[in-house]
C-alpha cells in the first residue's frame, strides 16, 4: 500500500516519518525543510510511506508546494495520513477538508498535543474524530509517543471512504460540480468533486490536468460562467466564497468538539523573540552568533582538532601503511601510488572533517531551534533593497554548509524571479568544501589572524552576492513584484539526537565524497603527475599534469599565481572544491599539512595567497552544484550564466586585490 504523509509545514511530518519508518530524514524548524518527496518503508515491511513537502492548501503558490499537488494528480496513493498541529487546528483543517474531498481514506495524526496543552488547549480526540468523521490518533512525533497506534490505524485493512461532502458549498457551486462531473464523464480516476473545487479556487496544476480530458475552450467557458454566477449572487470572488464556506464548517467542528481554552501567561517563545528580533538588538545578535560560530569552527575548537587528526594521519597511519607495504614487498609504483597519491590526496581532505562537522552542527542548530525563520525576518529589509526577499537568506545560510541543498531550499521562494536570483547567487556562499583551502592557506600565511581572514572571505561572498543581486535585479531580471510573508515557528529546544543526526547527515556526504570522488581523483591526478610525454616516473615538472596546468597558468599572472601547480589545482577544483587540497598535496609531495604550508610560501606571497583564496571562493560552482542549478532552473542558458559570471567576478576581484595590494605595498 502507498500511504502519503500530508500536512502543513513544520507540523512534524518528517519527525513522524522517521518514527514510522525507522529512517532518518532531515528535520528542521522552518517551513520548507523537505522540498522533494521521500519514500520509506513501514516497520511492517509491507507498506510504503511517502513524506511530502509541507503545504497549507492543495492550491500551490511555490514550487515545493506544487510537488504535492502534482503527486496527487499523477501518482498512485491508497491512503493518506494527515498530520495536524494541535496548537493550530483551525488553520490545519482547511487542508484536511481538501484531502477529504480528494476521496481517498484519510487518517489523522494529531501532533504537538504537548505544545497545545502548554498553550492551554484541551482537545478531546474522540469528539474531534467524530466531528470530522475519520479516525484520529494523538501522537507526539518528536518522541514517538502514539506512533505505533497511528501505524496500526493506517495500515489496517478496513477503512471506510471519507465524507467528501463535509462542506456544503451552496446550490450554485454544488450544481456546477454536478455539471462538471458530466463534462468529465468518468474519464479521470480522480474525484470529480475535488478536481472541480480545486479549479474553482484557481489551481493551475489541476486545470492543466483536466485539460487532458476536456477541451480547453469548453472548460474555460464553464469556469468563467460559474465564477460570474458566484460573484453575482454572493458579491465575493469564488475562491473567497469557498474559503468562507470551509471556514464556517471548521468553526462548527471546533465548537462541537468541546475544545477548551484557558488563558495562560506569555509563552517562552515570545519572550525570546522580544530579544532576538528586537528592533535594535536583532542584527547585532545575528552577527554575534555568526562570529561565535566562526571562532569555534576555525579557532577555538576546530583547528586544534584538525591538527590532532593531521598528526594521526600523517604519523601513525602513514607509518603503519608504509610498514605494511614494505612487509608485503610492494613495488615502488604501488608504494608511491598509495602514499603519495591516495594517502596524501584523501588524507589531506579528511583532516578537515572536525571543522566541517562543527560548522554543520551549528547550521543544524540554527535550523532546528527556529532561529532560521527569524533571520529571514531580520534580513528582509536588506534583501528587499537588493531585489530579493528575506526568505532568500535561508538558502544562502544553508549554502554555507553545502551549495546543493541551499539551491534546493530556494524552492520555497514563491516568486520565480526571486527564486532564480537566489539559485544563481547561492554558489557565492562559501561552502564547507572551500574551507580546507582557506585553512591551509591561512595556516601558511596568516597564522596570527586566522579566523579574521576566513571571516573576511565569508563576508566577501555575501557582499558580492548582494551587490550582484542588486545588479541583476535591476538589469536582466527586472520586473515582477517582490513578495514576503513568513511563518515564524515557535522556538523548540532542539533534541540532541536529532541535532546529531542532521549534522551527521550533512557531514557524511563530505566523508563519502572523500572515499569515492576524491579517492578516484587522487589516483588520477597522481597518475598524471607520474607519467609524462617522456615516459613514466618522470620529474614532476615534466609530467602531463605540469603540461596541462602550465597551459592555463599564464592567465593567472596578473592575479598573482602563475604556476602550473595553481593552474592544475584550479581545474580539479571544478570537480569538487576540496580536490584543490588533494591536488596540492600530491603535487608538492608534502608528507603532512605543516610541511605543505612551508612549501607554499615558496610559490605564493601572502598577497598572492589571499588573491588565490578569493579566486577559489568565487571562480565557479562545483560540478554537483552546476548539475543542481541545471536541474532546478531547467535552463542551459542560466546554468552557463552562473558559471560565466562567477569566473568574471572572481578574476576581477582577485585582480583588484592583487594589483591594488601591490600598489599599497603589501607583499
Amino acid at each position: 500500500m502507498d500511504i502519503a504523509l500530508i500536512g502543513n509545514p513544520n507540523t512534524g511530518k518528517t519527525s513522524l516519518f522517521n518514527n514510522l519508518t525507522g529512517s532518518y530524514e532531515y528535520v528542521g524548524n522552518w517551513s520548507g525543510v523537505t522540498v522533494e518527496k521521500k519514500v520509506g518503508q513501514f516497520k511492517n515491511k509491507k507498506d510504503k510511506l511517502i513524506d511530502l513537502p509541507g503545504i497549507y492548501s492543495l492550491n500551490p503558490l511555490s514550487k515545493d508546494e506544487g510537488v504535492v499537488t502534482q503527486f496527487l494528480l499523477s501518482e498512485h496513493v491508497d491512503k493518506m495520513i494527515n498530520i495536524l498541529d494541535a496548537s493550530q487546528l483551525e488553520r490545519n483543517l482547511h487542508l484536511t477538508i481538501q484531502l477529504l474531498e480528494y476521496g481517498k481514506p484519510v487518517v489523522i495524526g494529531l501532533n504537538m498535543v504537548d505544545v497545545a496543552l502548554k498553550r492551554g488547549l484541551q482537545i478531546e480526540p474522540n469528539h474531534l474524530s467524530n466531528q470530522i468523521g475519520i479516525p484520529l490518533t494523538p501522537v507526539i512525533a518528536r518522541t514517538g509517543k502514539g506512533c505505533d497506534l497511528l501505524a496500526e490505524a493506517v495500515t489496517s485493512e478496513r477503512m471506510s471512504e471519507p465524507n467528501a461532502r463535509i462542506v456544503n458549498y451552496g446550490i450554485e457551486i454544488e450544481e456546477a460540480i454536478l455539471r462538471f462531473e458530466q463534462l468529465l464523464d468518468n474519464k479521470s480516476s480522480r474525484s470529480a468533486r475535488w478536481l472541480a473545487l480545486q479549479m474553482f479556487e484557481g489551481n493551475q496544476y489541476v486545470k492543466k490536468y483536466v485539460k487532458n480530458y476536456i477541451e480547453s475552450e469548453k472548460l474555460d467557458q464553464f469556469l468563467v460562467e460559474i465564477k460570474d454566477t458566484v460573484k453575482r449572487s454572493t458579491g465575493v470572488s469564488i475562491d473567497q466564497f469557498i474559503f468562507q464556506k470551509r471556514k464556517e464548517t471548521i468553526d462548527q467542528i471546533m465548537a462541537d468538539a468541546y475544545i477548551k481554552r484557558e488563558q495562560i501567561k506569555t509563552p517562552l517563545s515570545e519572550k525570546i523573540d522580544a530579544i532576538v528580533t528586537n528592533k535594535i538588538l536583532g542584527l547585532p545578535i545575528f552577527f554575534l552568533l555568526m562570529y561565535l560560530m566562526f571562532m569555534l569552527t576555525f579557532d577555538w575548537l576546530g583547528f586544534p582538532l584538525s591538527d590532532l587528526l593531521d598528526a594521526f594521519i600523517t604519523g601513525t597511519l602513514s607509518n603503519t601503511i608504509e610498514n605494511l607495504l614494505n612487509a608485503a614487498g610492494a613495488s615502488a609504483f604501488i608504494h608511491s601510488l598509495i602514499l603519495d597519491g591516495i594517502v596524501a590526496g584523501v588524507g589531506g581532505v579528511l583532516v578537515f572533517v572536525p571543522q566541517i562537522f562543527i560548522l554543520f552542527f551549528f547550521i543544524s542548530l540554527l535550523e532546528d531551534s527556529g532561529y532560521m525563520a527569524r533571520v529571514a525576518l531580520v534580513m528582509d529589509r536588506l534583501m528587499e533593497a537588493v531585489g530579493l526577499n528575506g526568505k532568500a537568506f535561508i538558502p544562502m545560510m544553508i549554502g554555507f554548509g553545502c551549495n546543493v541543498p541551499g539551491i534546493m531550499a530556494a524552492r520555497t521562494i514563491e516568486t520565480p524571479k526571486e527564486r532564480l536570483l537566489t539559485i544563481l547567487l547561492t554558489p557565492l556562499m562559501s561552502c564547507s568544501a572551500r574551507l580546507p583551502v582557506y585553512a591551509l592557506f591561512v595556516g601558511a600565511f596568516f597564522v596570527q589572524q586566522k579566523a579574521f581572514i576566513v571571516l573576511s572571505l565569508y563576508i566577501l561572498g555575501i557582499v558580492v552576492a548582494l551587490v550582484l543581486a542588486k545588479l541583476f535585479s535591476s538589469t536582466i531580471l527586472k520586473g515582477e513584484t517582490s513578495f514576503f510573508v513568513i511563518e515564524l515557528p515557535p522556538y523548540r529546544l532542539p533534541q540532541f539526537q536529532a541535532l546529531w543526526r542532521s549534522t551527521w547527515d550533512k557531514g557524511k556526504g563530505f566523508v563519502k565524497k572523500a572515499g569515492t570522488f576524491i579517492f578516484a581523483g587522487s589516483v588520477f591526478i597522481w597518475l598524471l603527475s607520474y607519467i609524462g610525454p617522456g615516459g613514466t616516473d618522470v620529474a614532476l615538472d615534466d609530467s602531463y599534469l605540469a603540461a596541462i596546468g602550465g597551459f592555463i597558468a599564464p592567465l593567472f599572472e596578473p592575479i598573482g599565481f602563475n604556476t602550473w601547480q595553481a593552474g592544475a589545482s584550479l581545474i580539479t577544483g571544478f570537480l569538487a572544491k576540496e580536490a584543490i587540497i588533494s591536488t596540492m598535496n600530491i603535487i608538492y609531495f608534502a608528507p603532512d599539512e605543516a610541511s605543505l604550508q612551508g612549501l607554499l610560501s615558496d610559490y605564493f606571497t601572502p598577497l598572492a595567497g589571499y588573491s588565490f583564496m578569493v579566486f577559489i571562493l568565487l571562480y565557479i560552482p562545483c560540478l554537483a552544484t552546476v548539475a543542481t542549478i541545471y536541474k532546478e532552473t531547467g535552463s542551459k542558458k542560466w546554468t552557463a550564466f552562473s558559471m560565466g559570471y562567477a569566473l568574471i567576478i572572481a578574476y576581477l576581484l582577485a585582480l583588484i586585490i592583487y594589483q591594488g595590494g601591490r600598489l599599497l605595498g603589501f607583499m
Binding site: R91, H94, N278, G282, D380, R381, E384, G390, F483, E487
Partner: protein
C-alpha cells in the same frame, strides 16, 4: 491600518481585500483573514517587516502590505 498601530496593541482585521492577491492567499493560508484578532509584536528597523501574532502563531509581513490592512483597535 495595521501598519499604524503601536507595538503590543491588539486589533481585529476588518478588510484585507486591498492587498496583492499572492500575499492575501498566503495570509489566508496562515489563518489571517477578516475577523481575525492580531497583536503587533515588533517592528524591524529601517522600515523592515513587522511581526504579528494571531492565535499563538507569529507571522512576518512587510509594512507595505500591513498598511493596506484595515483594522479596528481592541
Amino acid at each position: 491600518m495595521l501598519g499604524k498601530l503601536k507595538k503590543g496593541e491588539k486589533c481585529r482585521i476588518l478588510d484585507i481585500s486591498r492587498i496583492d492577491l499572492l500575499v492575501r492567499r498566503r495570509l489566508l493560508d496562515l489563518g489571517i483573514t477578516e475577523g481575525t484578532e492580531v497583536c503587533i509584536k515588533c517592528y524591524m528597523p529601517f522600515g523592515g517587516p513587522i511581526m504579528v501574532e494571531s492565535c499563538g502563531q507569529c507571522i512576518g509581513i512587510r509594512r507595505v502590505e500591513a498598511v493596506q490592512i484595515e483594522v479596528e483597535r481592541l
